[in-house]
């Protein structure tokens, strides 16, 4: 397996690339990422916290993960690294890549084709597993995001608890859950947020 960090050194933020690489190596081991899959982690250091966004894709059998710099940045120290946030964001991204490779999500659409509700369910599923591994995830932060895109209602809360307490999921089950949440969501359509923009699309290639 090869692991590549892009950029090799950070120039706009005060991230120590060696420290980030060490966190990547540790996280790959902790989430039991397939040992024969190459991994590329690209960080767009221009985009600061709180602009958090990530994209996971499998290209020719290799995992390519893209993150805004804000995913790894400390909210307390501008341009500084947050090792805890980095672990969680990397862990969630690697778990979703693993899902796409061997975890029942082989037939899932590309990240940028997911609607916000589907993506939110998948993120909660990933962070729930990280919580079980002892990662410093914050359940209420994830619950709020889940409600924002899944609905402020009892069904959304129940589905979130199910995901967080270790339920296993496939893409087909996730899609069914997303449909059920959409059905139960009584908010006017304009409040059922479907994200139109992608931060990655405006980032330079």
């Amino acid at each position: 397996m090869s692991v590549t960090l892009i950029p090799a050194e950070f120039t706009l933020v005060k991230f120590d690339a060696d420290e980030v690489r060490a966190i990547i190596d540790r996280t790959i081991a902790e989430v039991s990422f397939p040992a024969d899959v190459d991994v590329t982690i690209e960080v767009d250091e221009v985009l600061p916290h709180p602009l958090t966004a990530s994209v996971v894709e499998i290209v020719d059998g290799a995992a390519k993960l893209w993150f805004t710099g804000g995913c790894f940045e400390s909210p307390q120290r501008q341009t500084g690294l947050s090792p805890d946030n980095t672990r969680v964001e990397l862990g969630a991204g690697l778990l979703r890549a693993k899902d796409r490779l061997v975890g029942g999500f082989e037939n899932a659409p590309a990240d940028e084709e997911l609607d916000e509700r589907q993506r939110t369910i998948w993120d909660a599923y990933a962070e729930g597993r990280l919580a079980a591994l002892g990662y410093p995830v914050r359940v209420q932060r994830r619950r709020y995001t889940f409600r924002l895109y899944g609905g402020f209602n009892d069904l959304a809360d129940a589905e979130f608890e199910r995901l967080w307490s270790g339920a296993s999921l496939t893409w087909d089950e996730l899609a069914t859950m997303a449909d059920a949440l959409a059905e139960a969501d009584t908010r006017p359509e304009r409040k059922k947020s479907i994200r139109k923009e992608s931060l990655r699309r405006i980032a330079p290639v």
């Binding site: 250091e45 985009l47 307390q76 120290r77 341009t79 209420q140 609905g151 409040k191 923009e197």
Partner: protein, 269 residues
């Protein structure tokens, strides 16, 4: 107890981390971000990273409420009765009660949204505006500029709660917004009463407010375009007693603050 407490003596526990406006203005990423078309900067659920942006703003509101409490609290104590009428201090004491309630509400909203106390850094420029030695300047700095900014921020958050269908957020922000309108009106009333025979003092105070309002526009954070996360709440400002001319002036100051920040970043690169 000491009068005129400087910002670096504010009481904070180890959870809080201090930052400065200059850290934000001089961030080397600012110019690069400016070169990209990120679309609207308004805080709306359909925009990228809306949840984390809302949580960040909510923590800013929380620390802002602490500083508003400290600012109003200092005014009840820093001046003798011949410098500031006792009735003014009573109003400031009532405002302290409102602000402390807002702090509690903000903590609970932080819990609701999954934000921890001290998770984000704190800038104390709000309190700095409350350190003027003249109580009339304090009224302009705190009640009209700071609380005016609070109207804009609460209205933005209330609209976010409404458009995302979050009943808790919308309800809480609406109630706090109502208090802020009262605080601004209280400041405007006292400003008129205390300067009715002293136009020079009034002009000095309004000039101070212009300076603070420009500072509070934070290089484009507040304004009336799609580039501004916080929108100027004309309707609520009008209810609080701002004239249309005054609101227009704040809008222009905000636009000017954005141009100044862009020039500063361009000059430093």
């Amino acid at each position: 107890m000491r009068k005129q407490l400087p910002p670096d003596m504010l009481a904070r526990d180890s959870r809080f981390v201090r930052t400065s406006i200059m850290d934000q203005v001089m961030d080397p990423r600012n110019q690069k971000i400016g070169e990209r078309d990120l679309g609207s900067a308004r805080l709306q659920p359909e925009r990228p990273a809306a949840a984390d942006r809302a949580r960040n703003l909510m923590h800013g509101i929380f620390t802002g409420e602490i500083q508003a409490l400290e600012g109003a609290g200092r005014t009840t104590f820093d001046f003798d009765d011949d410098e500031a009428p006792f009735a003014l201090k009573l109003d400031m004491a009532r405002q302290c009660w409102d602000e402390s309630r807002h702090v509690e509400i903000s903590v609970k909203l932080g819990d609701w949204m999954g934000t921890e106390i001290g998770e984000y850094s704190e800038a104390v420029f709000l309190y700095e505006a409350a350190c003027a030695p003249d109580p009339v300047l304090r009224l302009c700095g705190v009640n009209r500029a700071l609380e005016g900014l609070a109207i804009d921020v609460f209205n933005t958050m209330k609209e976010f709660g409404d458009s995302s269908g979050d009943p808790v957020l919308e309800f809480c922000e609406d109630w706090m917004l109502a208090d802020e309108v009262t605080h601004v009106k209280m400041g405007s009333d006292w400003l008129r009463r205390m300067t009715k025979d002293d136009p020079e003092r009034l002009e000095k105070a309004l000039e101070f407010q212009r300076t603070v309002d420009k500072l509070f526009s934070l290089g484009g954070f507040r304004g009336e375009t799609e580039d501004n996360p916080i929108q100027l709440a004309r309707n609520f400002r009008s209810m609080a007693g701002f004239s249309t001319d005054e609101i227009d002036e704040i809008a222009e100051l905000a636009a000017q603050a954005k141009r100044d920040a862009e020039a500063l970043v361009a000059g430093s690169s």
